[in-house]
Amino acid sequence: MAYSDKVLDHYENPRNVGALDKESSNVGTGMVGAPACGDVMKLQIRVNDAGVIEDAKFKTYGCGSAIASSSLLTEWVKGKTLEEAQQIKNSDIAEELALPPVKVHCSVLAEDAIKAAISDFQSKQEK
């Protein structure tokens, strides 16, 4: 299968690979997908007092498109407020990476991951 140059770039040089302290109160962690389906994404965000995402890290088990989708997402959410990050749509990711139809589910997973990370962060604040 032919991948777009952008997918290849993110795949060869993934941005923001790593982990943040998941116990920290200002870190939100989202883990979506399942090994049985062939992809699992873990996305973490660190949010400052102003509600802005200061840092984002990811790890992904999955095909090249899944890795690229999560790598791109970490680039996009940095510096955004939670409200802005919440607005990111899978179609934006799919378009940016020129994902073929069979790989659109990778971008859906990325959107699910950021939503899960934000909701994890918010539930920590309520405590």
Partner: protein, 406 residues
């Protein structure tokens, strides 16, 4: 010497034509060569071509210790499988309508059996053991009074394991069941002796053993005689079993490939085994790697490994400088890991993480060393990216995690 990239390690998918074979093929094409129709009886062009076709038939028969009269030319192993299974099922339909096969068979067998089910036949699909081999007792138990045919492949295309077809032959003969064996992946790699093995029908392919694509053969036993209903009708070629003008050049190529295999098999197996072991030894000390399929009952050229916590398609992408295949076909929203690995009871992660390396006649030590280095480097890199690897390192049992399936 510099390496030709990507390094070709997909010999079970297909092989390059041996230069000696290519030369013979080219001799059968042009006006100066033997271009005649082997069915032409009225002039030397036809007689020459017929002689070449019969020499090739003798070479194919000789590799498997059969009579040349028992060899029928086809377009490849898929056609041979179709002719054998449908042909026997249709001919013997009055005797019974039950067929036994295995879940790890090639699609050419499985899909043909599915078609017969649609025609009213009943098919039992047996599970192999975790090492890919068939339990002979379970096989025996699956045979019924109305069983007419069993189809079991000799060597599995994905995991390279060798079934005990001699034993299966004894069981089938005692029960008066016809045994078909798909030998596409075994001819030229494993000793086959049809004078002693009680196999009734056997499918062969040319392009898996350095012959051309589009050529194959079916062995049809004469003593005791096995009858088939033809699936291709026309001019009555191949004793009416498979009509259509014989592709002289393809057949001559297949014959030469089988002749070379007969002469060089022993030495070649020794050389390829050494290379395969070199590859295995270069990888097996890595953490969480699993060999798929039995380690001993296996052809020399096959190594199928799962690299746990790394997804197969991304690994293939990372290994773009080697040409291999993956057990994971990530081409749809619902990802389908290899049905062969699933049938062995491998869990989804391991099935998704498998790579099949298949070595062959032109594989070099230098290529193997390059492969070892590349695989180690890329698996390490992808594991650093993998949340599953991270969880494994933290001691989390992945089986206990509630995944949000999608």
């Amino acid at each position: 010497m510099s390496l030709k990239l990507p390094v070709y390690l997909d010999y079970s998918a297909t092989t390059p034509v041996d230069p000696r074979v290519a030369e013979k093929i080219c001799d059968c094409l042009t006006l100066e060569g033997h271009f005649g129709n082997p069915a032409s009886r009225s002039h030397p062009y036809g007689w020459d071509a017929e002689k070449l076709v019969e020499d090739a038939r003798a070479n194919v028969a000789s590799l498997v210790n059969a009579d040349p009269k028992e060899i029928v030319w086809t377009s490849g192993a898929t056609e041979s499988d179709n002719l054998a299974i449908k042909g026997a099922a249709h001919f013997y339909r009055k005797k019974g309508k039950h067929i036994v096969t295995v879940k790890t068979e090639h699609k050419a067998v499985l899909d043909t059996c599915r078609q017969l089910e649609r025609e009213g036949y009943e098919v039992t699909y047996l599970d192999p053991e975790a090492n890919g081999l068939l339990d002979l007792d379970k096989f025996t138990t699956a045979l019924r009074d109305d069983t007419i045919l069993a189809s079991v492949m000799h060597v599995n295309n994905e995991i390279g394991v060798i079934q005990d077809i001699a034993a299966l032959g004894e069981i089938c003969r005692a029960r008066d069941v016809i045994l078909h064996v798909d030998a596409a992946q075994s001819a030229g790699k494993v000793e086959i002796d049809l004078q002693n093995m009680k196999v009734d029908l056997m499918s062969f392919s040319a392009h898996k053993i350095y012959g051309p694509k589009g050529a194959g053969a079916l062995y049809v036993r004469r003593k005791p005689r096995i009858r088939l209903e033809a699936q291709m009708h026309g001019g009555g070629h191949e004793r009416g079993l498979r009509s259509g003008t014989l592709a002289t050049h393809q057949i001559v190529g297949m014959g030469e490939a089988f002749r070379i295999a007969r002469e060089e098999m022993a030495a070649e197996n020794e050389r390829i085994t050494a290379l395969r072991d070199r590859l295995l030894n270069g990888l097996k000390d890595m953490e969480e790697v699993y060999i798929n399929g039995d380690q001993d009952q296996r052809i020399p050229g096959n190594l199928n490994i799962s690299f746990n916590f790394v997804e197969g398609e991304s690994l293939i992408m990372a290994l773009k400088d080697i040409a291999v295949s993956s057990g994971s076909a990530c081409t749809s929203a619902s990802l389908e890991p290899s049905y062969v690995l699933r049938a062995l009871g491998r869990n989804d992660e391991l099935a998704h993480s498998s790579i099949r390396f298949t070595l062959g006649r032109f594989t070099t030590e230098e290529e193997i060393d390059y492969t070892i280095k590349l695989v180690r480097e890329k698996v390490t890199k992808l594991r650093e990216l993998s949340p599953l690897w991270e969880m494994y390192q933290e001691g989390i049992d992945l089986e206990s995690v509630k995944w949000a399936a999608h």
